[in-house]
């Protein structure tokens, strides 16, 4: 009894603090995005002022310009092709490899897992010139397939490590029982194991999607006017004219919008997927 009468105001206070902290976190997360959005809707003159212009008549001019008078729709299309292609190539391969690496243990496998991490650590800019040489030799410069292959390869370590965590949670008996029932090893994997780790596959696919969607450096050097994705196109309006800043803001909103929708729809899966696998190192 005594406890409760003292506790009630304290609980209320604690609750208020939690809400306040959450509000702060939400505000900080959103503010830069809010700034990009309003900047893209302001006249350039009003966009970079002190103090900031809070009230303004919105204009869609910058958005109209980049979507109708520049090849932005084509860049968006390229981004989609690259992103979907990467997911479709990377995830099946990554799942299969992760399955193997989770099922078997040996020293070479541990070494392999560690070297995969090292691939992630290598400074990527150094591979630009060799990639360019290969791309030219294979006549793949400025094609979607080149970018897809590169991103998929770079994504393998992450996909494998992530998926391996999920597969480790699957009881070994599951595929073995299926194989005793006459399934081949691949059938056991596809029909029995894969459905169980579906949330994990989903999570890995989401991360891969984001990874491909945001890739910048390789696309910058290895694409020209044919396969250039949105991320590179936005960075093209350098500095010379201040309207370019407004266009960059409009471009930023354009590249953000699908991601916002995407995260809004998928965040449950992200959390669920990771919860399921509990990310075994």
């Amino acid at each position: 009894m005594v406890n409760r009468s003292v506790g009630a105001p304290r609980v209320v206070l604690a609750r208020a603090l939690v809400y306040l902290a959450l509000l702060a976190v939400v505000a900080v997360s959103l503010f830069p995005i809010y700034f990009a959005l309003t900047t893209s809707l302001k006249q350039t003159r009003d966009a970079f002022t002190t103090p900031p212009t809070w009230i303004f008549t919105p204009t869609l001019e910058h958005h109209r310009f980049i979507w109708l008078e520049t090849p932005f729709p084509r860049y968006l299309f390229n981004t989609l092709v690259i992103t979907i292609g990467t997911v479709l190539l990377s995830i099946p391969l990554g799942c299969m490899a992760a399955y193997y690496l989770a099922r078997y243990r040996s020293r070479p496998i541990q070494v392999l897992l560690f070297s995969l991490l090292a691939v992630r650590a290598f400074p990527r800019i150094l591979l630009l010139v060799p990639f360019f040489l290969v791309a030219r030799a294979a006549q793949l410069y400025d094609t979607h397939i080149l970018i897809i292959l590169i991103i998929a390869a770079f994504n393998q370590p992450f996909a494998i490590w992530l998926m391996r965590g999920f597969f480790l949670d699957v009881p070994r008996e599951l595929p073995e029982a299926a194989m005793i029932d006459g399934c081949s090893s691949f059938q056991a994997f596809r029909r029995v194991v894969l459905p169980v780790v579906r949330p994990g596959v989903f999570t890995a696919a989401l991360f891969t999607f984001l990874f491909a969607y945001n890739e910048f450096l390789y696309c910058l050097i290895l694409t020209g006017s044919d396969a250039k994705p949105l991320s590179v196109a936005i960075a093209q309006y350098g500095a010379e004219k201040i309207e370019y800043w407004s266009w960059s803001a409009a471009g930023a909103v354009g590249i953000l919008a699908p991601i916002v929708l995407f995260i809004a729809v998928m965040q449950r899966h992200l959390v669920k997927g990771l919860t399921f696998g509990t990310l075994k190192g």
Binding site: T44, T50, V81, P195, R198, I221, S225, G238, E240, I242
Partner: protein
């Protein structure tokens, strides 16, 4: 449950697959289209992005019978792409804006000598009207022509006439007057600073520093390519810059041209050294809050009546040595794009390079800053050195010089170290062998 989920996943997979196949089909169709008709050659163009070049690209796209694929990207990115592609002998680009890199690229064998084309097409492109001094000084290397000048711009002094008049000030003639005027017009509590500066390491810093260095009588190199920034002029240059920084916005070390321009357009700064290509935008109400209030002058000299040497830049279009298109066609595209009519139309964006246009009083009248630009060149605005080592060492050099402004190094020490960075490279490249 599991079974249903799995089937659902498969259906989604199939959907994705269809999407992808559809996408590829579209792409293949698009990719195949030009080859199928094959009549129109595709001309590939690359340059940095800025209004004058955007205008040329627009005009270039109107050239009949070709398909133009233009890449306009920031300066750094354009340079990187050109260097990677050209060093591997790739025929990716036909027309390139080479500007200050023309001698470097020509030396490496990446550019096509234009003399035979000029000889053949002299009439067609009205070659003799193009300023021969620019062709000789900027677009030639070892006696051969490698480029067509497409614009000239210089940096000059922008100032707020209204604020100057109110304070009874005149545009400064000397550095000391500049410092005094900047001090008088700084009201930090009201967010008004005396002067804009462009001090971000790299070409931004280099543009400003070159002006102070040369105006105090120094230069980057002497005639034997010995580096000469560790000098009395160098000390004076950095000292003046450090003094002026007191009256500049607090983050001026991160200012590139765009930040300086915004600062001016927002009324944050009262004066500053800015590029000519920014002048027109000062009077554009879409972007500027100081319409009609900004005037232009020749930048201050070291002492009264002295010379002032701001940066001058000339743009050039070159043809790649590896082009697979007909060089005559590519040359015609460039020449016809840079026509008299087009130059007349675009004179507000940069100083034209055709004599018939620059000498036209009507054009001079129309854009008030062209006068300032002409005076500026008269007063001594000059090009920067164009040896490759200059640009290769630029970032490190200017980073080191910046440390003299932040106080991380004493000014003489910063100059000494920056000089060493540049000298080491020159030594390594064999400049001082004899």
């Amino acid at each position: 449950m599991t079974r249903r989920a799995w089937r659902f996943g498969r259906r989604r997979g199939v959907l994705c697959l269809i999407l992808l196949v559809g996408a590829s089909a579209l792409l293949i169709a698009r990719g195949a289209a030009p080859t199928a008709w094959a009549a129109e050659p595709t001309v590939h163009y690359i340059s940095h992005r800025f209004p004058m070049l955007e205008f040329w690209v627009k005009k270039m796209g109107e050239y009949p019978g070709i398909k133009l694929e233009a890449e306009l990207i920031p300066f750094d990115q354009a340079l990187e792409k050109m260097q990677i592609h050209l060093s591997q002998g790739a025929s990716t680009y036909d027309i390139m804006a080479t500007d200050a890199f023309l001698p470097t690229f020509a030396e490496r064998g990446w550019l096509m000598p234009l003399d035979p084309l000029i000889a053949k097409l002299r009439q067609a492109v009205e070659w003799d009207d193009i300023d021969p001094i620019l062709v000789r000084d900027v677009c030639s290397y070892k006696g051969k022509v490698y480029g067509v000048p497409n614009l000239a711009i210089s940096m000059f002094f922008f100032y707020r006439k209204d604020l100057f008049d109110a304070a009874g000030l005149k545009p400064p003639a000397t550095m000391d007057e500049w410092i005094a005027a900047a001090k008088a017009l700084t009201m930090a509590d009201k967010k008004q600073y005396g002067t804009a500066m462009t001090l971000k390491a790299g070409d931004g810093f280099q543009n400003d520093f070159t002006y102070y260095l040369r105006t105090y009588g120094g230069d980057w190199y002497d005639k034997d390519w010995k580096v000469t920034i560790d000098s009395e002029a160098g000390v004076k240059a950095l000292t003046t810059m450090k003094e002026l920084m007191k009256y500049a916005p607090p983050n001026v070390l991160a200012f590139h041209n765009d930040e300086s321009t915004v600062a001016m357009q927002q009324g944050l700064t009262a004066m500053g050294l800015l590029w000519q290509s920014r002048a027109l935008a000062m009077d554009n109400a879409q972007v500027s809050k100081v319409v009609g209030k900004v005037s232009f002058a020749v930048p201050p000299a070291a002492t009264k009546g002295g010379k002032s040497h701001a940066r001058l830049a000339v743009g050039c279009y070159s043809i790649s040595a590896f082009t697979k298109n007909d060089p005559e066609l590519v040359f015609q595209v460039i020449g016809k794009t840079l026509s008299k009519a087009n130059m007349r139309e675009s004179a507000g964006l940069a100083t034209p390079t055709r004599l018939s246009v620059t000498r036209d009083p009507e054009v001079m009248q129309k854009f008030r800053f062209i006068r300032a630009a002409a005076d500026n060149v008269q007063a001594g605005a000059r090009l920067v050195p164009s040896n490759p080592e200059f640009s290769e060492a630029m970032l490190q050099t200017t980073q080191t010089l910046q440390k003299g402004l932040t106080g991380e190094l004493a000014i003489p020490e910063a100059l000494k170290r920056a000089q060493k960075v540049m000298s080491d490279l020159m030594t390594e490249k064999g400049y001082y062998k004899k």
